[in-house]
């Protein structure tokens, strides 16, 4: 072995040094045999890889991780943006969170958002996807998928504005429609009163996201072998039982993923609330992100806003970790 470099496994497959530049081959030749060579090549490969990813790492560090660390540091301070003066206050901003009724309203609204989103964007979307996929004609399947997906192609801001005018108390489509069909008694100032504002915003959001979830479920259902359904049909099993005993278990992976993504999205809601109510009336539609914005940009309390940002980060990070764990462990094979 001595004196000659040993071929590595990859070299053996591709021919020694065949896919390497000459300088690299030279660098690989080291006194003492193949182990050193392998280490040298491996070190070089690592360094080359690092060089390739370094710009991305730097960008990530500067624009994602550094602001995160800074945000946490800033949540322990009070900052006067006018004078630039900062004062370390420890965990005072977090204590303030606990005593802030609007923070709890915001958190509650995020939870409500998550729960209703699971009902509509997971459960109802799965049922709808199963119904669409059970249609015999492929043309109808395509048409329906398209119809349900269209709202997802509209930006949240535009959808928010659209629904603001639908909900408008005097001129809005919804109240006028209710009156036209004889249900004028149900007409409401949907966004103008605390009892209906949040649910009205969530309803818009479900309309917007429902088709996207349906499409994802449809894709998952398409992966289920048709033989399973055919066998069940031959056994005389009805559509509901086929759905419950074949479809639901076999799209479990997608369902789990959708639940996690939906909850995560519900804790990051911002656009639709800002466009439709700005968190009002009387803070009844505040969510964590809008309260963060209001605390910083309206109330000038940037340290407190940073504390809210940290809470959102922690919540969504936990959800993201659960998502990673789930997608690694839950593989449905068929």
């Amino acid at each position: 072995m001595s004196g000659q470099p040993t071929k590595t496994r990859s070299d053996a497959r591709s021919g020694a040094g065949f896919d390497r530049p000459p300088t690299l081959t030279k660098a690989m030749v080291a006194p003492g045999g193949g182990r050193v060579d392998r280490h040298a090549r491996s070190r070089f490969a690592r360094l080359a890889g690092l060089a390739w990813v370094l710009p991305a790492v730097v960008v990530l560090l500067v624009f994602v991780y550094l602001p995160l660390v800074q945000n946490f540091a800033f949540s322990t301070q009070e900052w006067d943006i006018y004078s630039g003066a900062t004062e370390f206050v420890g965990l005072e901003n977090y204590e303030k969170l606990l005593d802030d009724p609007v923070f709890w309203t915001a958190l509650g609204n995020n939870v409500l958002y998550a729960v209703l989103s699971i009902v509509f964007q997971v459960a109802a979307a799965l049922v709808l996807a199963a119904l669409i996929e059970s249609l015999r004609g492929p043309r109808w399947r395509k048409v329906l998928r398209g119809i349900y997906f269209v709202p997802s192609a509209i930006s949240l801001t535009v959808a928010g504005l659209l629904f603001y005018f639908i909900y408008e108390p005097n001129l809005g489509l919804l109240n006028n429609f209710l009156e036209a069909i004889g249900l004028g008694a149900l007409a409401q100032p949907w966004l103008g009163q605390e009892s209906t504002a949040m649910v009205s915003i969530i309803a818009m959001s479900q309309w917007q996201g429902f088709g996207y979830s349906t499409l994802l479920f449809a894709v998952a259902i398409q992966r289920i072998p048709t033989e399973l359904y055919e066998a069940a049909s031959l056994d005389g099993i009805g559509a509901v039982r086929r759905f419950l005993h074949i479809t639901v278990p076999l799209v479990r992976e997608m369902t789990g993923l959708m639940i996690i993504v939906t909850i995560s999205g519900a804790f990051q809601v911002f656009n639709e609330v800002m466009v439709m109510t700005s968190g009002g009336p009387n803070n009844s539609t505040q969510v964590l992100a809008t309260w963060l914005y209001r605390s910083g940009f309206v109330r000038n309390d940037f340290g407190y806003a940073a504390a809210i940002a940290t809470v959102i980060f922690v919540v969504t990070m936990i959800i993201a970790l659960v998502q990673l764990w789930y997608t690694r462990r839950r593989r449905v094979e068929f």
């Binding site: 624009f63 602001p67 800074q70 945000n71 540091a73 800033f74 301070q77 900052w79 006067d80 943006i81 006018y82 004078s83 630039g84 003066a85 900062t86 964007q121 930006s155 949240l156 408008e168 108390p169 005097n170 001129l171 409401q188 100032p189 949907w190 966004l191 103008g192 009163q193 605390e194 996207y212 979830s213 993504v261 939906t262 999205g265 990051q268 809601v269 911002f270 656009n271 109510t277 700005s278 009002g280 009336p281 009387n282 803070n283 009844s284 964590l288 992100a289 963060l292 914005y293 940009f297 309206v298 109330r299 000038n300 309390d301 940037f302 806003a305 940073a306 940002a309 959102i312 980060f313």
Partner: protein, 440 residues
């Protein structure tokens, strides 16, 4: 779903980015701008306005073009925002220490923050009463930007809040202009019978309610108490006049608007259009809006448009001659290397000819320059409104700019709660007192 994820992350990152900027150093040690120096007519001058959107957007653009035509080596960068968006923009620029050379300001606590933070240049030597430029303005307008005996602001226009009304609607309903608050409420039923929404009101953004409240506070609360309550250190917010004012406001909303408890779901501009379109009989508005209401395309003509001061309640403990309003103007960045040029440009903006243009249709922004608003230059309503402002016993600034942000925010939420009926006047006051305590 994917779109949602980015926004809060951006918001959080924005706060963090502001934190980075904020930690990088304050304004201390910054060289003071020399506003009295002879300007060098070269370089870039940046200006942040709240004139975005037609017809106002062209005003500063035209002035910038005219100024650079005279001084070809000067470039003027205009950053034009709306009344709503300029609040965020200014704070973001402040936090990132990127304020332009000249920037818009309200009076009261808003301007004071920039002054106390060392971000506004002391303009006393060029604009204080007694100086040539200073004397071209009404003294009250210049004094509105006075802090600790120094003058910081360049007043661009005056402003006040009035009830604008459709004279044809009043004729149809057979009623006269009300002279007391009770008469105003009593006029609503006949106006409704005549087919009009008595008072159009949209409070989606929260601040329109504060305009009613502040005028009613001025009527119901003794002036010295009211002024003391604007400062968190001396504020008590416990005068019984506040409860009276809040109850009067609730009565007005319930009796005189069609949307009542749902008014929080209506845009301010929707209400504005209801008067301009001839559907509503009254709409509470600023002088700045008068020419918009009767602009080309509106059903309401200039001849059919009248104004009156929101009537004061009988026997109220405050000042019945006070009008809610304030001049609005511009500050010069204390750290601007172009401070002298900035002053020169603003002298150009406020010269008599440009002041008259600003005061005339389609702009209708009543200039703070003496003699700019006349019966010949301005529309009848603007002239009448600004005359009333000048004759008022005192001007009381907007509630959300004279109070500190925490208190202003509590009033915003409180106004909305009163409208939707979810809080009593006492509960609203309690939340304001709590916010004041936090602000101390």
């Amino acid at each position: 779903m994917r779109t949602k994820r980015t926004i809060p992350a951006v918001a959080a990152a924005a706060v963090a980015a502001l934190a980075l900027a904020g930690c990088s150093g304050g304004t201390s040690g910054a060289p003071a701008a020399d506003v009295t120096a002879e300007p060098t007519y070269e370089g870039k001058l940046s200006l942040l306005t709240k004139f975005a959107g037609e017809p106002l957007e062209s005003y500063f653009q035209d002035l910038a073009d005219a100024y650079t035509a005279e001084h070809p080596d000067v470039e003027i960068e205009l950053i034009q925002e709306t009344d709503q968006s300029i609040k965020d923009k200014t704070k973001t620029l402040t936090a990132s220490q990127a304020l332009p050379d000249i920037y818009f300001t309200w009076t009261g606590d808003w301007a004071e923050n920039f002054v106390s933070g060392g971000l506004a240049a002391d303009l006393s030597e060029v604009i204080a009463p007694g100086t040539e430029w200073g004397d071209s303005f009404g003294e009250a307008s210049v004094s509105a930007f006075e802090y600790d005996g120094k003058y910081y602001g360049i007043p661009l226009y005056n402003n006040g809040k009035f009830m604008g009304y459709n004279t044809q609607a009043f004729a149809d309903a057979g009623i006269e202009v009300p002279t007391t608050f009770d008469e105003l409420i009593d006029s609503c039923a006949p106006l409704r019978d005549a087919g009009y929404e008595p008072i159009a009101f949209g409070n989606k953004d929260g601040w329109p309610a504060l305009h009613y409240l502040q005028q009613l506070f001025a009527y119901n609360v003794p002036t010295d108490v009211l002024r003391a309550d604007f400062d968190p250190e001396t504020a008590k917010w416990d005068d019984p006049g506040y409860v009276d004012a809040l109850e009067q406001f609730t009565t007005l909303v319930n009796e005189c608007t069609d949307t009542g408890a749902g008014t929080n779901g209506v845009l301010y501009t929707t209400a504005q259009e209801a008067l301009a379109g001839g559907k509503a009989a009254m709409y509470y508005q600023e002088v700045l809006e008068f020419d918009t209401i009767t602009a080309e395309g509106s059903s309401l003509t200039e001849d059919d448009f009248g104004i009156f001061q929101l009537p004061a309640p009988d026997g109220a403990a405050g000042d019945p001659a006070a009008i809610e309003g304030a001049p609005e103007g511009y500050l010069v960045n204390a750290r601007s290397p172009q401070a002298a040029l900035a002053v020169d440009f603003m002298k150009f903006v406020t010269d008599p000819e440009n002041a008259k243009t600003l005061s005339s249709p389609p702009y209708g922004q009543p200039s703070a320059v003496v003699g700019a608003v006349t019966e010949d230059t301005s529309s009848r309503a603007v002239y009448e409104g600004i005359t009333k402002v000048n004759e008022a016993s005192q001007l009381v600034g907007w509630l959300d700019t004279v109070t500190v942000p925490e208190v202003a925010d509590a009033w915003l939420a409180g106004g909305e709660a009163l409208i939707s009926g979810s809080a009593t006047p006492e509960e609203v006051l309690e939340s304001v007192r709590a916010a004041n305590e936090d602000a101390q």
